[in-house]
């Protein structure tokens, strides 16, 4: 069952029957030492995408389907924030440049957030996908007449994104925090939210990022009865409700994060299972990552990552 490993992973041929589909990369920039921005042509997805929805991309023919949050969808292009985490996201960073094409992008997937006038809308994020959603959601919320409050948490100053990629421009009120206090407020977004609640400034909270922090957020807002909507990131295959890989227990019932989410009422989510199920393939993912990094470093003759 051994197969030959193709030296180049870039896609130059056509995939679709009848028509050529080329998901061309039009922009790629570093956001931090571990996160990057990438923009890809995908007019059919860009046209229909709304905040809250995600996409699934495949880098090449042997690639896996990777669900990804969207930072913006404009002019037929999809902009994403991606963390160099596993084999695929590392490979996309190191081996695909502007002008190269991805093999597939499907979307938008999942349900859109209901954009309406809520009053004071908070979006809090502490990881790459959340930061993308932070910007995308508040942009729409601001346009809908809401007072927008954005909180973005980073590990330290070095990991803070360039200003133009922060959600500052779409926020009426903006907070930046770092874990070590090297920039902005020291701590995570939970501390900021506590303060906002005390000042009675919150009508609804949206949040995305680390599942552990989101679970804490749910407990923080529960006693106040503040609507809290969070992104539930789960391992997916098709992303269309076909496989059940992303099933969660929600209000005691089985729900699929891809089809019924990815945004859920945080107070109804069974967080323990959600956090655990994200690690289902950890050993295999580690193996793939190490195998890839070895290849990458050999290719460059030095430790690239």
């Amino acid at each position: 069952m051994q197969i030959e490993i193709t030296p180049s992973v870039k896609n130059l041929g056509q995939k679709n029957l009848g028509g050529v589909v080329m998901y061309r990369i039009t922009d790629k920039k570093d956001l931090s030492p571990i996160d990057y921005f990438i923009e890809v042509e995908a007019p059919h997805v860009a046209k229909a995408w709304k905040p809250g929805q995600f996409v699934i991309f495949i880098t090449h023919e042997k690639g896996e389907r990777i669900p990804m949050s969207v930072y913006k969808a404009e002019d037929g292009k999809i902009g994403m924030f991606i963390r160099k985490l596993g084999k695929t996201t590392l490979e996309l960073y190191h081996e695909f440049d502007v002008g190269d094409t991805l093999w597939s992008i499907t979307g938008p997937l999942g349900k859109a957030i209901e954009v309406k006038d809520y009053g004071n809308v908070v979006f809090a994020s502490d990881a790459v996908c959340g930061h993308a959603e932070n910007h995308a959601t508040l942009k729409a919320m601001k346009e809908a007449g809401n007072y927008t409050i954005s909180i973005q948490s980073f590990e330290d100053k070095e990991n803070v994104y360039p200003e133009k990629f922060l959600a500052k421009s779409v926020a009426d009120e903006y907070y930046l925090t770092t874990q070590d206090g090297s920039m902005g407020i020291k701590g995570d977004f939970l501390d900021v939210i506590k303060g906002l609640i005390e000042n009675d400034k919150v009508d609804i909270i949206f949040a995305g990022g680390n599942l552990g922090t989101l679970a804490q957020l749910a407990e923080l807002t529960r006693p106040y009865g503040i609507p809290t909507i969070t992104t539930i990131r789960q391992i997916m295959v098709d992303g269309t409700g076909m496989c059940g890989s992303c099933r969660i227990l929600y209000d005691g019932k089985i729900r699929f994060a891809c089809r019924d989410g990815p945004m859920f009422d945080a107070h109804k989510v069974d967080w323990e299972d959600v956090i655990r199920r994200g690690k289902r393939f950890l050993e295999l993912e580690k193996r793939a990552r190490e195998r890839y990094l070895q290849r990458l470093n050999e290719k460059h003759g030095k430790e690239v990552f």
Binding site: M1, Q2, I3, I5, K15, N16, L17, G18, G19, V21, H44, V45, A48, Q53, I58, K62, G63, E64, R65, K87, T88, W103, S104, I105, T106, G107, P108, L109, V237, D238, T240, G241, M242, C243, G244, S245, R247, I248, L249, K253, I254, R259, D270, D273, R276, R277, R280, F281, E283, L284, E285, R287, A288, R291
Partner: protein, 470 residues
């Protein structure tokens, strides 16, 4: 009349030793000589009587194509099959012939039925290998008269592919919308390589391309584009989205690791080629002892795939051996390959270890009653006795239901079981929108889906003609 040859000519198969280590196709099909020998067993019932034709959901003229095999005229044999079925290489492999054509075969009353499925497959395979199908396709292409009318097909499974092919042959401009990155639907994500090589599907898709059909992958209708938008842009729409959502058992422990729906397991293995991880990027975790719950074709496919990934596999079914719904050939192959079977066991709980990985399944022992249910199967009741079987991997293959993403479209009427409401022409509650296959049947077969695709194509043609007249 010549004497009936009671025993069928066996088809060559890969050895069990070879099979359990490989995803290569198990049944190797008839050679020309063997096919002619098997064809000679057909007693050529007249068209109006032939029970096999009546038993076939799309009424292929079976005695006629078998007679052409006897004469050695494979092109004519293929032409006869194509009249009713454009995907014989696929149906020859996946149809439950024992319940259809072969189940009705007269020869079967005195011996074993004529191996109609394998003969159908032979015609398709031989024609493909010899380029005969291309010749025939060229002839078909010459006959096509372009018509005004654009048709959107939602889903590229058996129903969609058939509807697309038929409409293209009528001269319509056809576009297929597929949510996944590759077309084929259940034929590519569900049915494993060892039962239906992907190469065969690829050839069928090439044929459609020649007929002028366009396939847009990465399009999830209901999200990327709405049904309403399709209705505005196209003269008619056909929904062939199948039954894509797995039924999961809402039992304690369902969220434990290494419990897969058959759809997830098979999609990872077939579509994403997880069996070639890490050359392919998609992983699959299979332990040493797998329990598959269910006994349909999907259960057999999952069980035999897990076996090939190195696991010991047991199929646990809540009913009895004779109630299993899988094709006989698949059950037989599974047994040969070493899949074990446990009957009258109904799962009640999944038990996990300290790492939240499944380690066992608790079942209630069931017993059959004399009384039969709607489907003619013996009803079963619990005995109050329980048994726990060890397993570090569980695959749930208890059935599927239609995906809500499309059925929630504005204006579509849906039955309580989630299938779409259609009239006798297969038109849904929205004028100009037709549907077929598992999207209207719940869970049925590839051939019934193809039959619907063909019927819907005819209805769409009449619908477009009537609109022109109006």
């Amino acid at each position: 009349m010549a004497k009936i040859i009671k025993e069928r000519i066996p088809t060559p198969e890969r050895s069990v030793d070879e099979r359990v280590k490989s995803f290569a196709e198990v049944n190797l099909g008839y050679t020309f000589e063997l096919a002619q020998k098997e064809a000679a067993r057909c007693i050529q019932c007249p068209y109006d009587f032939a029970p096999c034709i009546k038993g076939c959901p799309v009424h292929i003229n079976i005695p006629a194509f078998i007679s052409k095999i006897k004469e050695g005229d494979i092109k004519e044999a293929l032409r006869i099959i194509w009249n009713d079925n454009t995907l014989p290489a696929i149906t020859g492999r996946v149809c439950p012939q024992e319940d259809q054509c072969e189940g009705a075969c007269v020869v079967g009353k005195v011996g074993t039925a004529v191996n109609i499925g394998k003969l159908e497959r032979f015609v398709a395979d031989y024609a493909r290998e010899q380029g005969i199908d291309k010749e025939l396709l060229e002839e078909e292409l010459k006959k096509i008269e372009p018509k005004d009318g654009k048709i959107a097909i939602v889903g590229s499974g058996p129903a969609g592919l058939t509807a697309a092919g038929e409409l293209a042959k009528m001269g319509y401009k056809v576009t297929i919308f597929e949510a996944l990155h590759l077309p084929g639907g259940v034929l590519i994500y569900g049915i494993p390589e060892f039962r239906l090589p992907k190469e065969i599907l690829k050839v069928e898709l090439e044929k459609l391309k020649k007929l002028g059909v366009e396939v847009k992958t990465d399009y999830l209708v209901g999200r990327t584009v709405t049904l309403e938008e399709l209705c505005e842009e196209y003269d008619a729409v056909f929904i062939g989205t199948g039954a894509g959502t797995p039924k999961l058992l809402n039992l304690p422990g369902i969220l434990l690791d290494r419990i897969y729906s058959a759809n997830e397991f098979l999609t990872r293995v077939n579509l994403m080629k997880a069996y070639q991880f890490p050359e392919y990027d998609t992983p699959i975790g299979v332990g040493k002892k797998t329990i598959v719950i269910g006994a349909g074709n999907t259960a057999m496919d999952a069980a035999r795939s897990a076996l090939r990934l190195g696991s010991d596999v047991t199929i646990a079914y809540r009913r009895g051996k004779e109630d299993m719904t899988a094709r006989i050939e698949e059950i037989h192959h599974a047994e040969e390959e070493g899949v074990k079977f446990e009957f009258f066991l109904n799962p009640v709980e999944f038990i996990g270890n300290e790492n939240h990985k499944v380690k066992a399944v608790k079942f209630e022992k069931m017993k059959p009653l004399e009384e039969k249910d709607k489907r003619g199967k013996r009803k079963i009741v619990g005995t109050g006795e329980y048994v726990t079987l060890e397993a570090d991997t569980v695959i749930i293959a208890i059935g599927l239901e239609p995906n809500k993403i499309i059925t929630e479209s504005k204006g579509l009427k849906v039955n309580p079981n989630g299938t779409l409401v259609v009239d006798e022409t297969l038109m849904t509650s929205i004028p100009g929108v037709f549907a077929g296959g598992d999207a209207i049947r719940g869970e049925a077969t590839v051939i019934l889906a193809m039959g619907d695709g063909k019927r819907a194509a005819e209805s769409i043609h009449r619908y477009i003609e009537s609109k022109k007249g109006a």
